[in-house]
Amino acid sequence: MNKIFEVRGLSKIYGPGCPLCIESTGPDADTNICPHCGSVVAIHDVSFDLFEGEILGLMGESGSGKSTVVKCLYFDQPPSSGEAVFFDRDRQHELFALNAAQQRWLRNHRFGMVYQNPHLGLNFNISAGGNIAERLLMSDLMDYGAIRARARELLARTEVLLSRMDELPKNFSGGMQQRVQIAKALATQPPLLFLDEVTTGLDLSVQARILDLILEIQQELKTAMIVVTHDLGVIRLLTGRALVMKYGRIIEAGLTDQILEDPQHAYTQRLVASAL
């Protein structure tokens, strides 16, 4: 197995920051707001590796910083400090040393993102097929017929009715919007996919089918994924390894079944006990 992603010391502070920020926040301080300068330490010193085809879970309550990690890695927000190396075939990219155009290239060609809120991942003013076309056009596929064919193939794969391909996504149900988002994210066959609370807020039966789809895709395409969720059921079903976050820090990391059945940290024990 090859390493695809190496994240070291990722930190993100909102606000001016001060020398006391780090020691005054975190799980022990029971806050992520620095009492001295009011800055929010969203994440601090987050490090992990991701291997090809692996699904890694990021779990924790809201405000734990799990979404911030993904936003930094997908270039939605620049981190305050830290490194992330993406190993792509025979090349490697230090994400935060790249210029804006290089970052955009990686984002469009080699990464995919599925947001909890479909408004973030989809343009609601253009059709479902147009949304997929946009991503294909970003990666320089300029043949209308080929774009149509690929969009059709992706929507069929994610079980969206092809008769609705040319409709606006705002007319779709929540589950269907997520399917279109997944199809769009997969358009360029990226080796790395970020999934941010993708099933939160959906009906249970719809959730199950989306999870099923994600796992099938992971096996078919060997896509590595980082799954952000507060739902332990999603973590159990999808991920092989997981990181537990609280107030911006990783407090526990391990094999998913181990974290759920033999949690080491007091906070994880409470989290798991309250869910079962």
Binding site: A100, R104, I126, S127, E134, L137, D143, Y144, I147
Partner: protein, 295 residues
């Protein structure tokens, strides 16, 4: 150019002061150096409302000198109100400049919405008046983001517009301001010229300058430069189709020309009639036809 005033008026030659002209010329040089790039400039106050061609006028006034032969056209016609007013203004403020309606005679042509049918030469410059300089404005409201998109040549969202057009109407329905890629990088709004005129920009012998007075931008398509309309590889760019119901190419009612851009009118009896949009082109053809008759 001449700084001293040859006229009884109190104005400097070309209305603008020499510093204003220099600034516009610097912007022109930059625009020519970076084909398709929208160069910001100060855009002076002119004695007419913005939106009436002040961008084009400032370009013309900065380029023109005594001995120059100027043609001003609006939608192909030298006689429309806008063209007449601009021409008179330039005649008044630029003594020693002559004007013409003949494309072949002009050294400098200021135009709104059309490029003349007669191919321009290397000795001519065409100045186009531009209301909206940025082709990306339809997909991205933030100018900051548009600048980044231009810098990275990221035009995928414009192409999505074309995609949606084909999905809905089976063809690209953009009639004017067709987004055109210059020298393989920047995509410009070529001003409200019809699709018919877009191919004339490609490897043209003359320099094309675009001036947007209200939006304070100048850009250029230099001579012998690629100007390619955005298209899909399998959906070629098409100009306006002037065939009638039976598939015959319509001809100009007046001069009989069957290979020019036609305007549609409704005559007194309610019938649709077609006429050359370029009045000079039409006149020339008519003269040739009459000569043929008299000979």
């Amino acid at each position: 150019m001449n700084m001293t005033s040859h006229t009884p008026t109190a104005y400097n030659f070309g209305f603008l002061d020499e510093y204003a002209k220099k600034e516009v010329r610097r912007a022109i040089l930059k625009a020519v150096s970076i084909p398709g790039y929208q160069v910001p400039y100060a855009s002076r106050e002119m004695p007419m409302g913005r939106g009436f061609g002040t961008g084009g006028l400032q370009l013309t006034l900065s380029l023109i000198g005594p001995g120059e032969v100027l043609k001003v056209i609006d939608q192909g016609s030298d006689d429309s109100v806008n063209a007449v007013n601009l021409r008179q203004f330039i005649e008044m403020t630029c003594p020693g400049v002559s004007t013409t309606t003949r494309t072949a005679e002009a050294t400098l042509i200021q135009s709104r919405h059309r490029i003349p049918e007669r191919p321009l030469t290397g000795d001519q410059i065409i100045v186009l008046q531009v209301p909206y300089p940025d082709a990306l404005v339809v997909v991205e409201p933030s100018e900051d983001k548009r600048k980044i998109m231009h810098g990275e040549a990221d035009y995928s969202r414009l192409l999505v517009k074309l995609y949606e057009d084909i999905v809905q109407f089976d063809e690209i329905t953009i009639s004017h301001r067709y987004p055109t890629r210059i020298n393989g990088h920047y995509v410009i709004d070529p001003s409200p010229i019809p699709r018919w005129d877009v191919p004339k920009l490609h490897h043209s012998r003359s320099l094309a300058l675009f001036g947007a007075g209200r939006e304070k931008k100048i850009y250029a398509v230099p001579p012998h430069t690629d100007a390619e309309p955005l298209v899909f590889t399998d959906v070629p760019f098409r100009v306006e189709d002037f065939r009638d119901g039976e598939g015959r190419r319509r001809a100009c009612e007046r001069c009989g020309c069957a290979d020019s851009f036609l305007d549609e009118f409704v005559d007194g009896s309610g019938e649709k009639v077609y006429q050359c949009s370029d009045s000079d082109w039409c006149d020339e053809h008519l003269a040739e036809a009459n000569q043929g008759v008299t000979a």
